[in-house]
């Protein structure tokens, strides 16, 4: 009886912070299709009501630059895809703060406004990995 109660309460408290899918984006945009494919997967998983988290890390943080204008490269704007994530039900966007720091990027100055990002340190990233059922790295 006690054990059953414990199980139920555990599930209840953790339900907000568990993810079906964690997509790790670690490459810069436009020089390869990696970022585009990762965001496509995020939109598709969001469409099917999976609980999705995105983690932007290393050169992947360059995907968050505001004022991207890839018309001359004949590519789709990642900035617009990132803005669409919340409508597609993607619930959590995380950025590793050290990756921003290393690249002289400032959230207020360089990063897309109007989208909420969680700034995470190394410890909270480990925690995010632990809370995610499936992890796919791009």
């Amino acid at each position: 009886m006690t054990i059953e109660l414990d199980e139920i309460s555990n599930e209840d408290t953790a339900i907000e912070s568990k993810f079906d899918l964690l997509i790790v984006l670690q490459q810069a945009p436009y020089s390869s299709a990696s970022a585009n494919e990762a965001l496509d997967l995020a939109l598709a998983a969001g469409t099917f009501e999976q609980k999705v988290a995105l983690l932007f890390i290393e050169d992947g943080v360059y995907q968050l630059m505001s004022e991207q204008a890839p018309d001359a490269l004949q590519q789709k704007s990642l900035e617009k895809m990132i803005n669409a994530l919340s409508f597609y039900g993607v619930s959590m966007l995380a950025v590793e703060s050290h990756s921003l720091f290393e690249r002289d990027l400032h959230p207020e100055k360089h990063i897309i406004q109007g989208v909420h990002f969680e700034l995470l340190n190394t410890k909270s990233i480990q925690d995010l990995y632990d809370r995610s059922k499936t992890i796919i790295r791009f």
């Binding site: 496509d40 939109l43 598709a44 469409t47 099917f48 789709k76 704007s77 617009k80 895809m81 803005n83 669409a84 409508f87 597609y88």
Partner: protein
């Protein structure tokens, strides 16, 4: 109708800039649909969505979009199937001059 701009084998516009409301009516005619205000409401919604996100929404997202902007009565697949029979997301995108939706499952 001979004036329809270039389209791909599935009937989607090759150049999205070729779209005009009269092109929309012509494409709809080739699909045996006569556009009503109810159709236009969805078409405008789709075009606005595309301007903002550069994405053609697949079915589930189209339903969600209609639900949010037009209310529960119109935000369901039965309503959309009546307007755009068969495959609403694909057909509505085609008429609205958007690319074919990906993840069209």
């Amino acid at each position: 109708m001979d004036s329809l701009p270039e389209r791909d084998p599935q009937g989607f516009l090759v150049n999205l800039n070729d779209w005009t409301p009269s092109v929309a009516s012509d494409i709809a005619n080739t699909e045996a649909i006569t556009l009503t205000d109810a159709h236009w409401e969805v078409i405008k919604l789709l075009r606005h969505f595309y301007q903002e996100y550069e994405l053609s929404p697949a079915m589930r997202i189209l339903v969600k979009l209609c639900k949010e902007k037009l209310g529960d009565e119109k935000g369901n697949s039965i309503y959309l199937l009546q307007l755009f029979p068969g495959s609403p997301a694909k057909l509505a995108s085609k008429i609205a001059g958007l690319p074919k939706p990906t993840n069209c499952l």
